[in-house]
Subunit: 263 residues, 3 copies
């Protein structure tokens, strides 16, 4: 069965760079099934790519190969790595772009990919990553790619904190609907219920729902989203615009005494 190979880049939709990478990947003896995850990651935004890759890649069949090229340091001393994370494989620059995936599923093994001497300094996706992927698709062992790699670059991911004012977190992702995904997990939801409200920036969201359609159009709501995080949305609207919020906007649940009322 053809290997599944996904592609996540900041090359832009309709980019010649994406085509050049696919062209090379299709030289494998058994051409892979190519799946585009995204090519419209904001240019050079390692954090956005890291989040997307961590969220999008773990539902694929075990052994899928995920290529991630958001690489402002291309051609400099940063390494290129192959990594097995959970049951999935990845090839990416070692710049933190795998760090959300590693946090979710755990790094099991990594290799530093040796650079071919004729690689263009500005396009390792085409000249190093795609050929390495083709070797793997054709049956090469990861060990053949290069030496073992440790201490992969980790981005600092904001953790919710207990403070005198309650549990404080922040928005870590805004989806295409404008829904605000926070770093509070579903485990915090009973506390939202107990508080009957959630604070986001200067706004209190008091309509707590099971799903978007449970309130009338235009209502700001809080819910547990499909990714397992507490999310703030506006029914059939855009929460990012309505609440003037985005990545980094603080969210807060009141302090612990509220919790006692439901425990």
């Amino acid at each position: 069965m053809p290997r599944i190979v996904t592609l996540t880049t900041d090359f832009g939709s309709g980019s010649e760079y994406v085509a050049e990478m696919k062209a090379r990947l299709l030289h494998a003896r058994q051409p892979p099934t190519l799946v585009d995850i995204a090519h419209d990651i904001p240019a050079h935004d390692i954090r956005a790519a890291a989040w997307l890759v961590g969220q999008a890649c773990f539902a694929f069949p075990a052994g899928a190969l995920h290529i991630v090229v958001v690489d402002p340091g291309v051609g400099t001393s940063r390494r290129l790595v192959w990594a097995r994370i959970g049951e999935q494989e990845f090839i990416a620059p070692d710049n933190g772009v795998l760090s959300w995936a590693i946090r979710r599923a755990g790094l099991r093994e990594a290799r530093e990919i040796a650079l071919p001497p004729d690689a263009a300094a500005t396009f390792h996706g085409r000249d190093v990553i795609a050929p390495a992927a083709v070797r793997l698709i054709d049956g090469a062992l990861p060990e053949s790619l290069g030496q073992s790699a440790t201490n992969l670059e980790q981005l600092a991911w904001p953790e919710p904190r207990e403070t005198l004012h309650g549990l404080e977190g922040e928005v870590i992702h805004v989806d295409a609907f404008g829904n605000l995904v926070t770093n509070l997990t579903a485990a915090a939801w009973p506390r939202v219920i107990a508080a009957r409200a959630m604070q986001i920036g200067p706004h209190a969201v008091t309509t707590l729902v099971h799903t978007y359609g449970d309130a009338t159009r235009g209502t700001p709501v809080a819910l547990v989203g499909s990714q397992g995080f507490v999310e703030i949305a506006v029914v059939e609207g855009r929460a990012d615009e309505r609440l003037a919020a985005g990545i980094g906007t603080p969210v807060r649940l009141p302090a612990q005494e509220f919790r006692a009322t439901t425990d």
Copy 2:
């Protein structure tokens, strides 16, 4: 041969939600050939999705499976359905998104898809639709998905009307070139010819052509488009901007007496 499965959503280009659905579809024993129809449908725009699906899906080989997820009511009481329409199969929320397809090709059979107990209330595309699709791809009969479904939701599609002022229709679609597709079919074209003009909003379009390149750049023209509808375009320009028109803009052909001159 792998089954063809198409995807039409409002999840946005490069969305993690699209990736999550594809990931699950590729778990089928014989992974399907995935075809993206569109993921940039305006958020929650059931009508736009319905039109696109009805236009785009019937040329596929018989038996293709078309997944449509534009679903503002996700997790509420609206049903999820499998439907055989013409020679094609569809899975979608029962919110009208299949109504243009049904109008074009006729509903032959439908089933209500039973909800698994652990489905996230906010993402039935991933947790209900994709698993149901995988079951079908793996050979399950549609009957196994759930009970027979009738009375699928129908959107009201505007019909041209004969009035004292002539045949009145409206723009039902604007394509990516800015061409204005009306709800007048090719059958009305002789009447446009007879009238030597077509009214759109306050503008009279008097250059009637066979194809876009038949008039000079910048000319507003009327023609029968490739979809079988009378269309108003601007040669190598955007009719929507030039004529300040969009979905719902009225169009009109003069009353019947004009017709006699050519019949």
Copy 3:
């Protein structure tokens, strides 16, 4: 093994026209592997499409079939052609859209595709090109498509010129990062090094690098890009915006005497 078929159009992302073409291509007896190159070419921009196709298509395995539909003259007297260019095959309108590819790899053979009598005048991509592609995929010989075609339309591609003021070229492409690709090839790079600068519009770029990350964020740099052309970029920024430059902006290297210093 399935044939590789790529698609490059100006139909727009998520267009029903793209879906209709794919639907027909998948009717081949052995359905091809479809690869989207781009569908967001600016509408009617033959030059942009010609550049992209010439850059993106030659890395595919030999014998891939590249379909290009940027066709403002659809339905008029312009021909539709099949062409073998280098080791690749193309089907496109004969409007110059293949001219960059021909310049890069050389035209080896071309055929004019005969029009079926029932083709919609406004959508030859669906009604002429896709069926011709299916015939080829199914094993038909190119000769069966129509008569031999010569004198394919060539766009004038700007050539660098030696003048009293030095070597003058221009920007021929802006990529999704805002990098400015010029028509000076890597062969001109020693001269940039000798001059220690490159002029673009009113700006002198004096930081010459091996790759983007070799200078600090925000610095305008010149380098040899991955496509083999001298390129001007801004590190982790957009050169097109920062230098107010775009396709056609002149670039210049000082006159010959500078060269002597390194030769």
